[in-house]
């Protein structure tokens, strides 16, 4: 009797264990809860998880409201879910609970994991004349194309740009432009230090404590290196080490650079003369700063090179066919030149639709405030990011954790990157099978 009961309990336990975490890529999942306003009752509801708050969040809400007014079949509900990482975590948790948003904003380093694991809906089948490869900026569009199939569409795409304090530059007697090379930037350090910054010498450059690996991806190229070639890790080789060594010297030898929890906050507060930050923060920076904000290209050194970043929008495979069709309508709406241009004027993100650049409102904005044109012009320097940062799970964290050791502890970049490289190689091993079968 006792034995039989134990056996039964054991079997039940194993059976329920086996049931957990298993999901079918083609099952139909529920939507996250929410409320449909009365006037939109009866429409197909689409849940859109966004990671934009503040100024940019308000602009997203306006776009969504405009869409809901523009037609009578679909109701889009935008739900703000926190940072890019927060959104990715919540989607993963949702999938385990068999629940999925229909659309979500995915960052340059989070969409790949959903793609590799069959959670994203291929988008080619939804393309129309007004929504597809011919409409979008080709570089930005192609970043989401794998083997001819699109897995996300660009939305809030950005590049880092060099922000500089024009008032401080004027006081220091420097030209009113961003430095052209990193060496030039370094040579301006002593001059900038003569300017007062809230009772201290003005520092030249603030480097990001968290997520600094995005800017550093470009910096590595500018010094002639790479994070990886394919999944073969090269961060411990010359160019990358030179970029790390440059930043180490700027911080620990010159005393003109430092690591900041939020470089943009320090910059807008007048504590530092320059930072390299997303173009998506341009509007907010210009409204917060009490000085004239300048923007320029990220400096080059031995080469020019730039990582794009920011968010695209992906559609989820486990949504119902009806919801997917409705969601595609919203994507098409966002891809009109007018809406794409409007989003750029509100946020500073790149116009992801080619024709948006001819939009009169955007043209006027760029003419009045050339800062808005910088990122667009700088796009010629953009390259596809190194595969390890894109496809290696948590590779970005491994890299910026290493950078923190250089920035905070004056650690030798060669040693730091040797240990980061070992970590990245382990990460590459984890993903190599999926990468080889789905991407190559």
């Amino acid at each position: 009797m006792t034995m039989r009961r134990r056996t039964f309990l054991g079997l039940a336990g194993v059976a329920s264990l086996a049931g957990c975490g298993y999901r079918s890529p083609d099952a139909e999942y529920k939507q996250p809860a929410g409320a449909v306003p009365k006037q939109y009752a009866g429409r197909t509801r689409v849940v859109f998880w966004s990671s934009y708050g503040g100024t940019n969040g308000k602009a997203v809400d306006k776009l969504v409201a405009k869409f809901n007014e523009s037609q009578t079949d679909v109701y889009v509900e935008a739900q703000f879910q926190g940072s890019y990482d927060d959104v990715a975590q919540k989607i993963a948790a949702g999938l385990i609970a068999r629940q999925t948003p229909d659309l979500a904003v995915l960052s340059d380093v989070t969409w790949e994991r959903f793609f590799l694991n069959d959670a994203l809906e291929p988008l080619n089948g939804y393309f129309t004349d007004g929504f597809g490869p011919a409409v979008f900026h080709s570089k930005l569009f192609n970043e989401y194309v794998v083997k001819g199939q699109s897995w996300c569409v660009p939305f809030a795409r950005s590049t880092p740009i060099l922000y500089y304090n024009r008032d401080v530059f004027a006081k220091a007697g420097l030209p009113d432009r961003a430095p052209r090379t990193w060496s030039e930037l370094r040579s301006w350090g002593a001059t900038l230090a003569k300017v007062d910054a809230n009772g201290r010498p003005m520092r030249t450059l603030a480097l990001a404590k968290v997520d600094g690996d995005w800017q550093f991806q470009g910096n590595v190229w500018q010094f002639g290196g790479a994070y990886s070639k394919g999944l073969d890790v090269t961060i411990d080789e010359d160019g990358a080490v030179a970029a790390g060594e440059f930043q180490r010297q700027l911080i620990h030898i010159d005393g003109h650079g430092y690591m900041a929890s939020s470089p943009m906050t320090d910059f807008a507060g007048g504590l530092v003369a320059m930072c390299q930050d997303s173009t998506g923060g341009l509007k907010s920076a210009m409204s917060k700063a009490k000085f004239k904000v300048g923007a320029g290209f990220i400096p080059s050194e031995v080469a020019a090179g730039l990582a794009t970043g920011g968010g695209g929008i992906g559609m989820f495979r486990n949504a119902s066919a009806e919801r997917k069709q409705a969601a595609a309508k919203f994507l098409e709406f966002l891809a009109t030149p007018e809406n794409s241009a409007w989003w750029t004027t509100q946020s500073g993100y790149l116009p992801v639709v080619d024709k948006a650049r001819e939009d009169p409102a955007l043209k006027k904005l760029v003419a009045d405030e050339p800062n808005y044109g910088v990122a667009i012009a700088q796009l010629v320097n953009a390259r596809p990011q190194d595969a390890i940062r894109l496809y290696g799970r948590n590779a970005n964290v491994a890299i910026y954790t290493g950078l923190q050791q250089i920035y905070a502890d004056n650690a030798d970049p060669k040693k730091v990157f040797a240990s980061v490289a070992r970590r990245l190689e382990a990460i590459a091993d984890e993903v190599s099978r999926l990468y080889e079968s789905k991407v190559l």
Binding site: Y22, P25, A93, N117, A260, N394, A408, D409
Partner: protein, 316 residues
Amino acid sequence: MTVVDLPARAHPDEVRQPPGTDERRRRTRREYGLFALLVAPNLLVIAVFAYWPIVYNAWLSLTDWNMIAARPTFVGLDNYVNTLTDPAFHKTLGVTVAFTGLIVAGSLVIGLALAVLFNQPLKGRGLVRTISFAPHILSGAAVATIWLFVFDPGYGLMRALIEPFGAEPPDWMNNSDWALPGLVIVYLWKNVGFTALIYLAGLQGLPKELDEAAAIDGAGTWTRFRAIKLPLLAPISFFLLITTVIGTFQAFDVIAVMTGGGPGDATTTLSWSIYNEGFQAFNAGRAATLSIIMFAILLVVTTIQARVMERRVHYR
């Protein structure tokens, strides 16, 4: 404990059943049923929300799973081998031990000192007690945000306090040598009020006779404190020791907001690395393994503490 005379169990074949046994058996069964019915709601909740996750977590620790893939892959003890031989894990353990040790020692010592102070008939002590306890009920994230401001090298309160004396404050959270002490200060600030409150209750509950007798015998204040009050407070110290160790091991909120485990891995504790592996890296197997290891460590620590204290703590 009362001793109950239990009827000796007889072999069913041997004994002819006395009349009424059936009914008794039915009644016993009914009582069991009622018992089950009454405990079921609680048991169910605990099973679903406490025991089941532990069992599931143990299973996950034997798998490789990125939380998005349709199913976990069974890998046996790979995660344990990789974790236990990983130098980064050893560093994490070191940080966790240092962090826990400093906070446990700090909050017991400062908490007791505060309690002794609050036990004096001083003016305004009610207000001071309230103020010192207040941080305990604040949410960790809010506390962390306030302290980020205090520690900020550019705008922070520390700068305003220290600079007039000609010294430069450290960049607390962005410096590997200062980040951990900074976190310890924040946790102490948050938790010492609670420790003090518990100690104060203990002090006020101590019998006056012993203290008076010792005073008459000529024992000084310090001697009375060390030889009489401190041993009598041992059960309370023991309680605080266990709860603080467990609480500190699980500390997460303030670390997440203030340092994110950095700079580098300077403040990566075991609980932070579980979060990082699980929700940043989507490495469910590794995160589950770390959780099981933490569970095991806490189990061992608590058992040792309980054994040691059993012998040395005197409950009255």
